[in-house]
């Protein structure tokens, strides 16, 4: 293989046998699927793991980078984990920032793919193109921070990244994630629980930048592409360092805006406006508890907002107070106690569990208690009991054992599955589908379950970027969403931060890819590859039994009317879905053979 950017080296780690096989990458796969998300799902299809139990040794856990990872291309410091989700049963990919991805490249690897199950806890040590399994028995039972510290003490913190699971992953909490560098999370879909099921506690990566950056195929074009990307980010209205709203306030710049739109899911989406939004908003956080703004490899935006509560029972210092986390544990649960929310985010990071899903299991339990379905008392806004219950969930004690199964399963256990605000069993993010129609379609058709990051139509529907779109309109949303989904699928395969997409277009992604990899792409190629990735994911899900009826939203969004500035609105999912399937060329949520052929997706592989 003669492509730039890649190390052309990946480790396949058979945890059952304790063996490691090194492989080169397949150039045809890279041309078709690029890397990270796209290549990861291709591996899932190749191995036909459509119907294996997510916690079975037969499931694959793929830790992936893309061709831009570890280069000087800005905002390219993302790491992707692909597996069959124990929460949704779909294929899932979950990404995190920090320095781990870049260091993996500098350590000589593109990807680490885990199969099987170890008979005892292990961690993988990676350095200089070699990987070695080590005993992690002494680390099992520890939280993320003590695990990271113990491994940094052993290997030195210089040039070292540690990604680890906490007790959440060990105890197979279905929404447990991976953490790296203490507070960066691959939160969604339960990838950490899959690691726990394999007795894989951590990955230690030692990689120095000097002498190990991937070589670009076209050095002259590379210099130009790096500058062009930086210029776009620096001049971007929202991303400009220390000037744009996303740089100054982080993701939580959205809290008040979404609330004012009447689209902030509140108290388990019983209403769409919260009196608590201001108290946990980016503006309040910046003014009252912000202490620093750390950043990822090659990123000038620095969206992370580290906060500190200096006294009282919620004393904590944690990175970072994101919009989704603040919403899920704040207004969604009927509270605006920012100190308690910060404390809960910290607990999630220590245990390695997803803040969004945790917020959902709380709000399901709160509504279930309110309706008399359960005896265990959890009132709206009772932050102290929420904190107490985090331990119960992570250690699967009492009602915590039911909540550990995720909001959809918990609601069914309580006797009313409709209480869970989920799609494909994954909780919705912080945008109500009644007040932002396109995002509802996005939740329903997301291949990894409800998600805003598969197709962020909020850009157009709320911010009016790049062209204003009526957030309450129905017509055109299917067409619009497909464009968002396809471009995101490509950028997740690079793997580049989604914030870059506020300032960079498909031309710029193509320019950066071409300079690094050496394959000439244009914007149309970018969109076509994105479409291929989206369709192979859908193909995986179809083989796993997902069809059109699974592209759904909870009845609440279709029947109960929104409030505030979305007053009287419900989701018009069925109409949008029809247009969406038409533009996708799908039949009832299924990718037909002719579409697979058109997109050059191989189907003669796997089971």
């Amino acid at each position: 293989m003669n492509l730039g950017g890649y190390k052309n080296h990946e480790a396949w780690v058979d945890l059952s046998k304790g063996t490691i096989t090194y492989r080169q990458l397949n150039e045809e796969d890279l041309r078709n699927y690029v890397g990270a998300r796209g290549l990861g799902v291709k591996y899932m299809v190749d191995h036909g793991v459509y119907n294996v139990d997510a916690f079975s040794p037969d499931n694959i856990l793929a830790v992936m980078t893309g061709p831009l990872t570890g280069t000087r291309i800005h905002m390219s410091g993302r790491l992707c984990t692909v597996t069959r989700s124990p929460l949704t049963g779909t294929v899932t990919d979950s990404h995190m920032g920090g320095w781990t991805a870049a260091r993996l490249k500098w350590a000589g690897f593109d990807n680490l793919i885990f199969t099987g199950k170890s008979d005892k806890p292990v961690y993988l040590y990676v350095e200089d193109g070699k990987a070695e399994l080590k005993d992690a028995t002494a680390l099992w039972g520890k939280g993320v921070r003590p695990t990271v510290k113990a491994l940094e003490d052993l290997y030195g913190s210089k040039d070292t990244s540690v990604m680890a699971i906490g007790q959440g992953g060990e105890n197979l909490i279905r929404f447990a994630g991976w953490m790296n560098e203490d507070d960066r999370a691959s939160g969604r879909g339960g990838t950490g629980a899959v690691a726990g099921s394999k007795n894989l506690k951590a990955i230690v990566i030692k990689g120095t930048q000097r002498g190990n950056m991937p070589e670009p195929a076209l050095p002259d074009k590379y210099k130009t592409a790096v500058k062009a990307g930086l210029k776009a980010i620096n001049e971007g209205a929202l991303t400009a360092p220390n000037k744009g709203g996303l740089s100054v306030y982080g993701t939580n710049v959205l809290m008040n805006i979404i609330n004012e739109s009447g689209a902030l899911p509140t108290r388990n989406s019983q209403t769409t406006v919260s009196e608590h939004a201001e108290a946990v908003s980016g503006e309040t956080i910046r003014e009252e508890i912000l202490v620093s703004e750390p950043t990822c490899h090659a990123c000038p935006v620095a969206c992370k907002k580290e906060v500190e509560v200096t006294e009282g029972k919620y004393k904590v210092k944690v990175e970072s107070f994101e919009f989704e986390s603040a919403w899920a544990l704040g207004p969604n649960c009927g509270t605006g106690n920012k100190e308690a929310v910060a404390y809960m985010i910290d607990r999630c990071n220590e245990y390695g569990i997803d803040t969004i899903e945790l917020g959902h299991v709380f709000s399901v339990a709160m509504e279930a208690y309110e309706k008399g379905l359960i005896q265990e008392r959890l009132d709206w806004g009772d932050v102290d009991r929420m904190i107490e219950w985090i331990d119960k969930i992570v250690h699967r004690q009492g009602i915590g054992d039911l909540l550990a199964e995720g909001p959809g399963n918990a609601a069914k256990s309580f006797g009313d599955g409709s209480l869970a605000m989920v799609s494909k069993n994954q909780g919705i993010p912080a945008y109500d589908p009644r007040g932002i129609q396109g995002i509802g379609l996005g939740y329903a058709t997301s291949n990894r379950g409800a998600c805003h990051l598969r197709g962020y139509s909020v850009s157009a529907e709320i911010a009016g970027l790049p062209e204003p779109v009526d957030r309450l309109a129905v017509e055109g949303k299917g067409t619009l969403l497909k464009i968002f989904q396809d471009l995101h699928a490509f950028s997740d395969s690079l793997d580049i931060c989604k914030f870059s997409a506020f300032s960079e277009n498909a031309d710029l992604y193509a320019e950066q890819y071409t300079a690094v990899v050496g394959i000439e792409l244009d914007a149309d190629d970018v969109m076509k590859i994105g479409e291929r990735v989206y369709n192979i994911e859908r193909y995986f899900n179809n083989k796993a039994g997902f069809v059109g009826k699974d592209d759904s939203l909870p009845a609440r969004f279709l029947e109960e009317k929104a409030g505030g500035n979305s007053k009287g609105e419900v989701s018009h999912l069925p109409e949008m879905l029809k247009e969406y399937y038409d533009v996708r060329g799908w039949k009832d949520g299924i990718v037909p053979a002719e579409k697979l052929k058109e997109l050059n997706i191989e189907t003669n592989v796997g089971a």
Partner: protein, 91 residues
């Protein structure tokens, strides 16, 4: 018959849009402080002056872009190509 489409583009400076129209084959015919006129063999285009509005604690540029053509297919084609350049996915 003339076909036309007027777009409101947010978040992208007029300088950047100027570059996009040129990349798509537009040649600047004339300009003043309010408007720039481009012409190609199949379509013409005008860029308005740049305004800003304040949103998400950011100054967001707004430029109104109009495309005109006597050929409906040509208009559809240039709109698709232009929108591919202006599209920003965010996330």
């Amino acid at each position: 018959m003339e076909y036309k489409e007027k777009l409101e583009i947010r978040g992208i400076s007029r300088d950047e849009l100027f570059k996009y129209v040129q990349e798509l084959g537009g040649e600047r015919l004339s300009s003043n402080s309010d408007m720039i006129l481009f012409q190609s063999d199949k379509w013409s285009c005008t860029l308005s002056s740049e305004e800003t509005f304040y949103f998400m604690h950011s100054d967001i540029p707004i430029v109104h872009v109009s495309f005109h053509s006597s050929n409906e297919d040509a208009l559809r084609d240039i709109l698709r190509k232009f929108r591919l350049k202006t599209f920003r996915a965010g996330g």
